[in-house]
Every structure is written in structure tokens, then in C-alpha cells.
């Protein structure tokens, strides 16, 4: 293969590898948003998921157990978010911000408590790739799509499953109606609260797992603030994806691509100072937002709490 072709294959392979945190956290955010819960705590939940996932994986010796722990913690955050907003009816932004702080602080505090101060960071083994027989032999597409770690496959399957669930089943019809018009849904006997709790918790679990992916796949260890703003980018991504699972999958590939590109350009040697290359993902996100904000279809009651007995004139 020529130099450019090799570069492209490597680039795409890396992109598909990197899209996972965006997909998982994006779908998690989308689920909550579809019932009207606007989660802005992703950065904090991902950090705690990364921290807990790593610590539990290290102390238990099993990366799988670590991942489950990260999901449980994420689910807990989702539960707290839902309790404060759905039941106590507090402002969703404020609660989300508070959880972001707590998550960030917790993620830094826990390693200090569990490991103490260490000079060399302990490592966990990173996820291995699982090549799919036959398919991974296909030239070009094989290594890109069919020789990845298990969570890459899970992300794609999850996106397709969510799309089908939301748009082709009765369950999806009800779930979406909660975010489109909670009063209408309520009047037809659909439990607004139940759907909001469910999507918040499952969404939180996905976001926690997205955070755990970073130590599990990239570095093998936890470093402070290692998400570097991905949690916030996910929020823009969900808007960009029109709160739609398949478009979010595509958008994640796109954002991951920018991330990989800026990294490749640094490694490959470039005239542009590396700090400006590091800015690429964030600037890219802002540019995407310029083109999509206001144009994407958002669940009508996103961010608004529902109170059955509130009287309107």
C-alpha cells in the first residue's frame, strides 16, 4: 500500500477507536434529553467513571469489574440528577453543574485516598483488540472496522439498537412523548417520572463507562482531569446529532477524527505550534455549533421540569 493509503487506514482505525467515549456519552446524554432531562454533568461523571473504573480495575485485578463499577457510579450520578430535578424540581443546569463539581473533585480525591501519593502511577492492562473472523481479513475495511476492542463494537450496536428502540417500537413512542409534551404524556397515563429516572440512570451508566474507557484503552492509568473537556464536547455533539442515535454516531466519528488529526499533526511534525493543534478539537466544536445550533430538532421540553399540579392561566 502507498504511504497515503497506510496513513489513511491508520488514521481511520484510530478514529474508530477514539469515537467510543463520544458515542457512549452522547447516547447517554441523548436518552435523558429525549425525556426532557438536560444533563450537563458529563465531564464530572466521566472523570469519576475514569477514576473509579481504574481504581476498582486495579485493586480487583479485573478490568471488567472496573468497568462495571464505573457504570454503577455513573448510574448513581444519574439517579441523583433525576431525584433533584424530576422529584424535587430543582433547576437542571444548577444541579448538573453541582454534580460536575462533585464528580471532578471526587475523581481527584479517590486515587489519593486509595493509593496514597505514588511516584510512578500504577497501571492496569489495556483492552485488547478482538478481530472478527473473516471480516477482519478484508483489505482496508478489515483493520479499520473489524479489528477493534469490544467497546467499539458495542458502541455501534448500541447506536443501532437505540435508534430502533426509539423510532420503531411502542416503547420508543412513549419515551419520546415525555420529552415532547410531558403533560400530554401524563394525561394518557404515561409515567413521566419513571421514564425520566430510567433514562437518567441508564444514561449516567453509559457516561460513566465512557469515562472508564480512557484509562482502559488509552493510557492504562488515571491522571487528573484526563477527559480534557470531552464531556462538554459531548453536549455540543448531541445538539449536532439532533438528539438522534445514528446521527450522534456519525458525529462522534467526526469529532474523534478531529481529535486524532490534531494528535497526528503534532506527532508528524508540523509548522504550527503544538498548542494550537491541541486547540483544534475545541475550535472545531465551536464551528460545528455555529452551523447546527438553532437548526437541529430538539425535544420540545428539553431542560424543563414537569409538575402535574402547576396551574397555567
Amino acid at each position: 500500500m502507498t504511504g497515503i493509503a497506510t496513513f489513511l487506514v491508520e488514521f481511520l482505525k484510530l478514529t474508530f477507536l477514539s469515537m467510543v467515549p463520544f458515542v457512549l456519552a452522547g447516547q447517554g446524554t441523548m436518552l435523558g434529553g429525549r425525556t426532557g432531562v438536560f444533563n450537563v454533568a458529563q465531564e464530572g461523571i466521566m472523570l469519576t467513571g475514569a477514576s473509579v473504573g481504574f481504581l476498582v480495575g486495579y485493586t480487583s485485578g479485573s478490568v471488567f469489574v472496573g468497568a462495571v463499577a464505573a457504570m454503577l457510579v455513573g448510574g448513581l450520578f444519574g439517579l441523583i440528577l433525576s431525584y433533584f430535578t424530576t422529584t424535587l424540581k430543582m433547576d437542571q443546569f444548577v444541579v448538573g453543574l453541582a454534580l460536575f463539581f462533585v464528580g471532578t473533585g471526587l475523581s481527584t480525591l479517590l486515587p489519593k485516598l486509595v493509593l496514597g501519593i505514588t511516584l510512578t502511577p500504577p497501571l492496569i492492562p489495556t483492552l485488547k483488540n478482538i478481530p472478527i473472523p473473516l471480516l477482519s481479513e478484508i483489505p482496508v475495511l478489515g483493520p479499520i472496522l473489524f479489528n477493534q476492542n469490544i467497546l467499539v463494537y458495542v458502541s455501534v450496536l448500541l447506536s443501532i439498537l437505540l435508534w430502533y428502540l426509539l423510532f420503531k417500537t411502542n416503547l420508543g413512542l412513549r419515551l419520546r412523548s415525555v420529552g415532547e409534551n410531558p403533560k400530554a404524556a401524563d394525561s394518557l397515563g404515561i409515567s413521566v417520572n419513571r421514564y425520566r429516572y430510567l433514562t437518567s440512570i441508564i444514561g449516567g451508566m453509559l457516561i460513566g463507562l465512557a469515562g472508564a474507557y480512557l484509562p482502559m484503552v488509552y493510557t492504562g492509568t488515571f491522571t487528573e482531569l484526563m477527559t480534557k473537556g470531552r464531556g462538554w464536547i459531548v453536549i455540543a455533539l448531541t445538539f449536532f446529532g439532533g438528539w438522534s442515535p445514528l446521527v450522534i454516531l456519525l458525529g462522534s466519528i467526526f469529532f474523534a477524527g478531529i481529535e486524532v488529526l490534531s494528535y497526528r499533526m503534532q506527532v508528524g511534525g508540523s509548522v504550527i505550534p503544538f498548542q494550537f493543534l491541541n486547540m483544534l478539537p475545541y475550535i472545531g466544536t465551536i464551528i460545528i455549533m455555529i452551523f447546527t445550533f438553532g437548526k437541529s430538532r430538539v425535544p420540545a421540553f428539553l431542560g424543563q421540569n414537569y409538575d402535574r399540579e402547576r396551574r397555567t392561566l
Binding site: 416503547l171 415532547e180 400530554a184 394518557l188 399540579e309
Partner: protein, 515 residues
């Protein structure tokens, strides 16, 4: 037909934020009847039925259905007991189809696929049985109000209800659609249903209801059959003794005198068009003139451009083409702030969301819009002393129940919030008032108070642009009535030519549609 009592509600009490909305209310519904639940705004009719439908929890009381006491903690339970409700503001998902809206919340034969053939056939049968014509695959947001109401009715019928509650169902209908609705109700009664018809309109209740029950301020007043009822009796029951009917605008026949001899033109619109951000033409070549002291009514079904017209006049939106003139001054590109300084007053339709600052104090609310003008502000500094004095005056004059100018806006009850906005609107000497559904949500004495204030200001030369979906209101106080349809003025009628059905025809675009 032998009529039995199928539903009773006993000693129902409900308090909201220190206001007693229902006070030991009794309610009875018989089989195969249309019962009218009559009363002004705030009388408690909707609250009572929301309790029956499980949307509100009553503080105390009982519900007896077919002789057995039942409890209804949520709408799901109401439906299970065969009780359905069509709300005043339709509870529909705008970007779903009619079919999806009807089946939402029910169990379907294929829950894990998108196959809805069975359900569709069933609903089509219902449509035939009750004479409701509708395209099940259309999206709700594309449908007119009358059709959307049919969807609401179908939702209830599909769930097999025996009792159907309709909350102010004629609010958004033209007279022809009202007649069609009444026919549908009669068919439903013949098919075995009982109907509760909530309304504040006397005419309707005497027309269609078999029995009538009147509520006022959360209490029962009287229940009687249509035979025994009369106009005066029902009016008295609705408003009580406190209101002087002879001096009222609504009930006395003393019309006001407005002669259309040449007076100065206050507001002139010439070929005004407005294309909105979605590239839709919401105002189409509008031309009209309003004279000083005139009350110019604009009729139309909701959503035909009324709000856009109000906002263009006020300067909240700018016309895409054409000109707006005040006296002889071109104000097409003026801002709202400049227009308010000219003496424009705006009563927006959605008063809670567009007219009130819940998170600010009462004083803030009372000066909103005038805050930058003397005596409230000078050289960019607010004179709070003047603000407080003026606020205290307004609180007294308009009987606003509050602890004072510093009270938080959110502490006020719904009725007092309306009073704040009425106080704000009528405390200025204004040259032009743009009022959009000004009496919606007001009880009858308050409605009359608003009409009296409009008349008084009109005497001093204020011109009024009255946009209203309440045809009765327009017929009562307007000097001329224009009809809007799809952003166009399709007719302007002088007082001598006021005719409900003619206006209804124009409102439905009958002349515009090619049949």
C-alpha cells in the same frame, strides 16, 4: 329514555396556594345526557373536572361511579374507569401523526415493530361510527384547530370511555365548526355516552345542554334542567350579587356611541407583509386604518397571524415590506421601546410568559416597559422613590392583593397577576392600545372592568386594536371587525353588518379556498 345517575362527586375540597378553588362541591351526572358545567373563569369548573380526571388530587371528598366509591389518583385510572377528557389546550405531540397521538399510551398488537395496521383499521371504524372525518397519517402540526379537536375526541373514544368531559371546547372554533361539534355530541349521546360540557358561554349551554350546573368561586350555586333555565337566572348565578348588571358593559344593552365621522388616523398599515425566519409568509399584504377613539376588532382562528400583526405594530418584529404609520409618522422600523414612548400599550396574549416577571418584585412588574421614562428614570438612574409611590397607587386602584411593591412576583395568585398587568396597561395615558385576547382567563366582573377601562380610554382618544378569538367579545365592543385568515385581511365589517356566521365563514377562509 330512562335516566339513571351514573356519577356523583360529594363534598369535594381543593386548595391551591392558600386559594380555595373548590369548597364542598357536589356534582351529579346522569346517563345519556349532556350536562353543562357553567361559570366564569376561576369558578372552579376545570379544577373540578381535573380532579375527576386524576390530574389533581382533591384535599377531601368522594367520587361514586355507578354506585361504587372509586379513587382516581392519575389519568390512567380515570381512563380505566371510562372517563375521558378533552382539554382546552390540546394535549398533543405536534410532530407525531394523528394515528400515533391516538394510540400513544395504549397497548398495541405489535409493540416491538412499527406495524400499526390493526390499530388503524379500528380507528377508521370509530371515525365512521361517530361521523368524524380525519386523515390518520397527517402530522398534528399541520392541522387546523377544529380537526385537532376531533383527534382529541377520538383519543377518548378509542379508549372506550362512557363519560367524556369537554373543557371550553368551542374556544378555538368558528360558528360552523361549533355546529358540527354539537352534532357529534348528539351522536355520542345516542351511542350511549354522557357528556360534561364546561363553558362560560350562556348561549351554548342553553342550546345544547340537557341539564345545567352553575359554579361560582368554587361553590355550587344552582343546578337545573334546560327547561327551567333562563338567561337572567343563569347570569345572576354566574356573577352573584356583587355586580351591577345594569351598569355593566356585558349585560346591559347600552351600546357605546362611536360615529365614524372623520377623526384623525392613529394607526395606518399599508401593504404590510412579514416573512418569518422559517421563510413562511405570516402576514400577507395587510392594509388597515384605525381612527382615534375607535375600537378596531380583528377576528380569526388562533394561529392565522394575529400575534405577528400585534408584534409588527408594536415593533417587536419588523415588517418585511410595506409601511406602518402612527399619525403621519412612519414607524415601520421603530423599536418597541420607541413605540412605548410614543404612547403604545401592549396587552400580550400569553400573559404569564410574555407579560410577567415572576422572579422580580411587584414594583419591577408594575413599571415594566415604562422603566426608562420619567418619572421612573432620569439620566439612566432609577428613581425608586417615585416607583414605590406609583406602585402603591396602582395596587390600591386596581385592588391587587399583595404585601406591597417589594413582594416577590411569584407570590401573587393568578388573578392578581392579571390585575398587575391590567394596572400596568391602563395606568398610562395612551394613544394606541394593542390588546390580544385581553380578557382570557378573567372572571366576568374583571372582564367587564377591562371593557369599561377600554371605553374610558377610548373617550380620551385612544385607538384600540383588539385581536380576539372570542367572537362574542368582538361583537360586543368593536366598532368594526376585520377578519384574518392565513395572514390576510379577508374582510372588514362595519357594525351594521356584524353577523356571526358571515364572520365564521370568513374566518374559515371559505372564500379563499377553492372547493
Amino acid at each position: 329514555m330512562e335516566q339513571t345517575t351514573i356519577l356523583q362527586m360529594h363534598e369535594v375540597n381543593k386548595t391551591f396556594d392558600k386559594v380555595k378553588a373548590l369548597d364542598n362541591v357536589e356534582f351529579e351526572l346522569k346517563s345519556n345526557e349532556i350536562l353543562g358545567l357553567l361559570g366564569g373563569n376561576g369558578a372552579g369548573k376545570t379544577t373540578l373536572m381535573n380532579v375527576l380526571y386524576g390530574l389533581y388530587k382533591m384535599d377531601s371528598g368522594s367520587i361514586i361511579l355507578n354506585g361504587k366509591p372509586i379513587s382516581i389518583p392519575s389519568p390512567k385510572d380515570a381512563i380505566a374507569h371510562g372517563i375521558g377528557m378533552v382539554h382546552q389546550h390540546f394535549l398533543q405531540i405536534n410532530n407525531y401523526t394523528v394515528l400515533d397521538n391516538i394510540i400513544l399510551g395504549t397497548s398495541v398488537s405489535h409493540p416491538w415493530t412499527a406495524d400499526r395496521k390493526k390499530e388503524k383499521t379500528e380507528i377508521e371504524k370509530l371515525c365512521k361510527r361517530f361521523g368524524l372525518e380525519i386523515n390518520l397519517d397527517a402530522y398534528i402540526e399541520s392541522l387546523p384547530m377544529g380537526t385537532r379537536q376531533k383527534v382529541e375526541i377520538l383519543k377518548a373514544l378509542y379508549r372506550g370511555v362512557n363519560i367524556l368531559i369537554l373543557d371550553e371546547p368551542t374556544t378555538n372554533l368558528i360558528p360552523q365548526e361549533v355546529d358540527a361539534l354539537f352534532e357529534t355530541l348528539k351522536i355520542m349521546v345516542k351511542e350511549g355516552l354522557s357528556i360534561v360540557f364546561i363553558t362560560h358561554k350562556l348561549r351554548e349551554v342553553l342550546h345544547i345542554c340537557d341539564r345545567i350546573s352553575v359554579l361560582r368561586e368554587g361553590k355550587n350555586v344552582v343546578s337545573l334542567t334546560r327547561k327551567d333555565a333562563s338567561d337572567e337566572m343563569l347570569v345572576r348565578a354566574m356573577v352573584g350579587e356583587g355586580m351591577d348588571l345594569k351598569k355593566s358593559v356585558i349585560f346591559s344593552d347600552s351600546g357605546r356611541k362611536f360615529d365614524t365621522t372623520k377623526r384623525e388616523k392613529v394607526l395606518t398599515l399599508e401593504n404590510v407583509s412579514l416573512v418569518n425566519s422559517d421563510k413562511i409568509t405570516v402576514l400577507n399584504d395587510i392594509s388597515l386604518e384605525i381612527e382615534a377613539g375607535e375600537i378596531f376588532g380583528v377576528a380569526g382562528v388562533a394561529g392565522n397571524g394575529q400575534r405577528d400583526l400585534a408584534e409588527v405594530v408594536m415593533g417587536i418584529q419588523t415588517a418585511t415590506s410595506g409601511s406602518v404609520k402612527f399619525m403621519n409618522e412612519d414607524i415601520t422600523h421603530q423599536t418597541t421601546k420607541e413605540n412605548i414612548a410614543r404612547g403604545f400599550v401592549y396587552i400580550p396574549e400569553d400573559r404569564l410568559s410574555d407579560g410577567f416577571l415572576h422572579k422580580a418584585s411587584v414594583a419591577y412588574n408594575l413599571i415594566l416597559g415604562y422603566h426608562n421614562l420619567p418619572p421612573y428614570s432620569k439620566n439612566g438612574i432609577v428613581n425608586w422613590k417615585n416607583v414605590n409611590t406609583a406602585s402603591k397607587d396602582m395596587i390600591k386602584k386596581f385592588t391587587i392583593k399583595t404585601t406591597g411593591p417589594d413582594d416577590a412576583g411569584g407570590n401573587l395568585s393568578g388573578g392578581n397577576i392579571q390585575r398587575v398587568m391590567i394596572a400596568r396597561a391602563f395606568s398610562q395615558s395612551s394613544k394606541l392600545m394593542v390588546a390580544h385576547n385581553p380578557t382570557r382567563g378573567l372572571d366576568i366582573p374583571s372582564m367587564d372592568f377591562v371593557y369599561k377601562n377600554i371605553y374610558e380610554h377610548a373617550e380620551t382618544g385612544m385607538a384600540t386594536l383588539l385581536l380576539s378569538e372570542d367572537l362574542d367579545e368582538l361583537l360586543l365592543i368593536s366598532d368594526r371587525i376585520a377578519v384574518m385568515y392565513r395572514g390576510k385581511i379577508v374582510g372588514i365589517l362595519p357594525k351594521e353588518k356584524f353577523d356571526k356566521y358571515e364572520i365564521g365563514r370568513l374566518m374559515s377562509g371559505y372564500d379563499q379556498e377553492s372547493k
